[in-house]
Symmetry: D2
Subunit: 384 residues, 4 copies
């Protein structure tokens, strides 16, 4: 059996149902624009996965360029997650909100060239050094919404890796980056005679945990912080600043060191994946976003200073999954549907930063209080 020749989701679904003697009626229950989704988002479409969508918040966020209270849409099947983030939002908001900042490094693409030998590799390096303006021009000719930002060149004797970064406004931008890089590659090949082996040479590095993304950053980098008053820690988080600090130091820092981690955090990936799925981001970019560092400190007055740093957050508010019906509605909950000269994606990045702050805080508090297992037993998947 194969599915070629079937014209739409229903036909494919019916074929599978008949052939495998199963029912796919829930998968067939949806309201999105099937034709658009089948053309742009998912080939061989048979319907949809329905992922529960909840909201955490309101969370007060004080960004550099905006300020507001936000409900955060989260799609998840992991019981206790939304409740936990929600509790963190409350603690952060009652302490004045999450102060955030972000910087847009841009989407990166990193082709690999075969130079054949060291002298050619040096020649390529020199050409690239001299012709950055040309490269920029070639890249920017591919889209009015793309700006070339920078490049990193690393030679490996007979190979050369170049990482290009592009501002793509409110788009996550990997496709735009790929198209712009293809233009750059054409230029390089034509002018130097040196061939590109692969337009994506894992020097990007896309959807793989990689120190280059931690150190050189990718997409947006985001910071968030709050000082949680000790009363709030006690009343809302049911524990003490000192205990949260203890858990943070032994778990996020020492435990991460002992296990060879790229992430010095408790669970960035949980929060990011839930918001990503709700808002139509590429969920494989959770890999990049799972890296990052949380800090905690007991202040002189006995309160808890708490911060998070995400070095590589790839996201957008236009294109990809963001145009789908429920995803667009999820974005509308935060007031950031569509393109807005990069401001919407920045806002989304910082709101996620705030949510991650809330999520780290709440989980570390649960661990400090010793309530993780019971929370899961009560709310979650059971266990037995």
């Amino acid at each position: 059996m194969n599915l070629r020749g079937y014209l739409n989701a229903r036909q494919r679904r019916n074929a599978l149902e008949k052939n495998l003697r199963i029912s796919l009626s829930n998968i067939g229950h949806y309201s999105l624009d099937e034709k658009a989704a089948a053309a742009k988002n998912c080939e061989n479409m048979i319907g949809v996965a329905q992922i529960p969508l909840g909201v955490a918040g309101p969370l007060k966020v004080k960004g550099e360029k905006f300020e507001g209270s936000f409900f955060i849409p989260m799609s998840t099947t992991e019981g206790a997650l939304v409740a936990s983030i929600n509790r963190g939002c409350k603690a952060v908001t009652e302490s004045g909100g999450a102060i955030t900042a972000s910087y847009n490094i841009g989407a990166t693409r990193g082709p690999v060239f075969y130079t054949g030998n060291i002298r050619n590799e040096q020649r390529l390096y020199e050409w690239v050094e001299k012709n950055e303006e040309k490269i920029k021009k070639a890249a920017e000719s591919t889209s009015a919404h793309l700006t070339f930002k920078k490049l990193i060149f690393r030679g490996l004797a007979e190979y050369a890796f170049i990482r290009f970064a592009f501002d793509t406004e409110d788009a996550m931008g990997m496709n735009m980056a790929t198209i712009a890089t293809e233009k750059i590659v054409e230029l390089i090949e034509k002018e130097t005679g040196i061939s590109c082996i692969s337009i994506a040479g894992n020097f990007d590095a896309d959807k793989k945990p990689a120190w280059i993304n931690f150190i050189e950053n990718r997409g947006h980098k985001v910071w968030a912080e709050a000082t949680i008053r000790k009363e709030v820690v006690k009343e809302i988080l049911k524990t003490f600043p000192e205990k949260i600090y203890d858990v943070w130091l032994s778990k996020n820092m020492l435990g991460s060191a002992m296990s060879g981690s790229l992430g010095f955090n408790a669970h960035f990936a949980n929060i990011v994946s839930a918001v990503f799925i709700a808002t139509g981001q590429d969920p494989a970019h959770v890999v990049d976003a799972s890296m990052g560092v949380t800090t905690a400190r007991v202040t002189k007055s006995g309160d808890l200073y708490f911060s998070i740093y995400i070095p590589a957050l790839m996201l957008g508010t236009v294109g990809g999954g963001t145009v789908l019906a429920t995803q667009k509605e999820a974005l509308s909950i935060m007031g950031i549907v569509g393109g807005n000269q990069g401001k919407n994606s920045q806002k989304l990045a910082e709101i996620i930063g705030g949510a991650v702050l809330a999520g780290e805080l709440s989980l570390l508090a649960s661990l400090a209080q010793g309530s993780l297992a019971s929370a899961h037993q009560k709310l979650g998947r059971g266990g037995k």
Copy 2:
């Protein structure tokens, strides 16, 4: 505004719609059992995210304990992904199918203890060494479906980290592992007087990229391989074994080395995340699964030997998101709904292994052929 006091998804949705002057009608369109989902999977539920679901395949898989042809359900919003995996499935299947193997290491939980000093830490080590049977018994008292498998103890002067691994049959098992570990921690605290700081000490290491998961493995580890005849490479993949090898070496191996990666692959995360979302897995576990190694080799007869290895694949066919309506249907496409003494989760692991094999093959072929950008331009998100 806050959402406490509202009784169900509709009420919350309406409150948000009214308050934010938006429409959430698509989020409100679903067929899943709201009551169960709200209780078990997602607090503050307002509805669902609809994620397009397509199928790739059929893919012939020859596991150790099963053999068959499978359609692989994938939920994604990334255009061209399903089509690409589909092409890989065809090439693999026409070459005799994916040969797979897997090994269940089990879910891991890694608490951190505060011993206070080196001598106490040694004392704790000795106690643990001597009482592994007691630990096993305590752990297994928490569930008839959980088997204690092993522990790893690492001391850090005043701290001790212990990583416990549990076979949890067809459940992904993190909650079961947490509950069992809580029981073990009680035992240790009672018998040694040494306190646990956090039941999750990032020595698990859950949802963070970490070498300990790569080296010690976590969940299932999975291998898949196929020898793709050169004619198949040419006809279906539109390129040559030598070119796929060249891209593999320069990208997956050298490019990954140059960027400090934990993943020596092209895009494991893409395939895993799409199947995970379709089948109700925890999407944050894509982080663990994004690590792994692909190998490629041109055989003496000019064909392409191709393999993948995933060291840490956390998944299940019971509990969590797998009980939801569309997710259960997606599992039914592969014939692995519910519990079956661990066989269903093993089967899912190896089918994913085969799909990852197909996905790596297809992407490396596209890169070798130079068609990545054009594929995205045609099928994907556009770019402009």
Copy 3:
């Protein structure tokens, strides 16, 4: 010009002097047994490098199986290093000494086998699982001083990597491990028909920074700790426990996280390399020893708890460079010349642990006090 045909160091030296019109008279000034060194330690010998050798201490060390005060021989050309360690020794000793512990994991060798495909790889795995006794016997037939300790098997589709660990008593043991592994490989090849590609497959991992050594350990793993009274911190280290803690947290933990380090320490490598060169260890093993974690904490009474952990310390007191004249004398300063059923190498490991503790303490104190640059300016290489 080439140096074949010359019979001894003098002849080679003279040939170089004449040919290059240089003087090598200092290289020609030595008292070691040239014949033995030329045969066992260094081919094409022309003389020696004279490396200044100083002593730090006395340092009080309280090991598990020994206790004493030790002068620590250090060969270095880095001004201020011995003085700094010396200061640390004083602070540690005045606070009661360094409490130490160690565990001998043993020397490791990690061959790579070519199995050809997954099923063969599984077959090899099963054979190895079943025949660990045979493997042990084969290994131990190569030396009365070698004990097989354990193996770790990791498959990669068509490849298999096996890491063998051996207790080699007071020898560092890489050569013994290599010879024993060769015997094991013969056995495996004969009984399974599967070939070894390389007896050293970077799964050892010898002299490369590698997480497997951090996580699985190698050679000796060593802990040391001391609680430094606040008066001692003030008088000897010229700073405060709180300031040392601040530097430790921001530098050793957060700075290491931000730079993608395998070492969460300040300068283990400095101390280890100086003792290694003085005592005839293999200086390339400083790479393995440079990994590790320092912890610092201000106690309730305002003192400084301080500890270090070295996960992979390769060393010995017999064989290799330890038999050379000055190296043997350096070992005699600590009373650990030659073999003693593993006790001498353990003692050396723990004394180095104590020295590393002293060195970390003293450098962090200098940094806290802001005196690093001035120390170097005064004592060191100048700067201009």
Copy 4:
């Protein structure tokens, strides 16, 4: 007993000899200028370690700015090492020599600042961005031989890490870099009011294995390559290009991937440590230099293309240990004693690059041929 009050090496040595009832006569046998060494290189000096010094070569090296045949001085106690490098030199030289290139990134120092919160951290970032010229001027005021090259700023909410790189001509430059950074820190503290916690914040990252050094480079980065004719591989290296390639792929690439390595090489550390000790470099910098990548490829004509890349090689020909008697003589063997506007250190870097190429080639050939254990058994430390 303590050693304060003793005036010179002899007095200290005698005191130790008497007190510990040992003889240190060989340690007391040396020709170096004790007074200078005691003042500049090693406090509490009691004499020297005599390390056997041999030469490998001649090795033909074709640098960018120089060309020549060099004997390479190596201080080692590891039998078979010099012989092995020597064999590699022969193979490389007979194939036309090592083609090399290098780039001086410079010595780096990476202080950590405490900003207190995100907004202050942004303020610091902006100040630094605007005042790079001022920073450069401050740094360069500290030495006529130091040039400020660049800075990398990374914020972590309440902390900021800045990595400064300086060209220090022929000096390794860590002390010069420290002094220059101290000046920069003074400037920043004065103008921004933000305090430096530690002038060395592990963002350097000095003597710890760290991805930032691999990715951002440190000291000199060096490439070397040669195409070894198949006849040379057969006659001198006793194996075949294909077999060397097989060992390289399975060991250096896949084995390194499987063990979580920062080094995709066989034994850079061995070669670098031997040359470093012979020529007065800081042996703890072997840690930085142990990282790097080797590549191997069988050419269409059946020869072996072979290359190495060292991303972080810290060395110098002035200052530190290079002024000592034997070390200076060792440098004179290569004709690079003292300062020469950076040319001598560049030459040393590229000669080491060539030696590393020879060393990698020879070891991989031994492994391919299966002669590693027997070589050690014959030449080395014995084994029993």
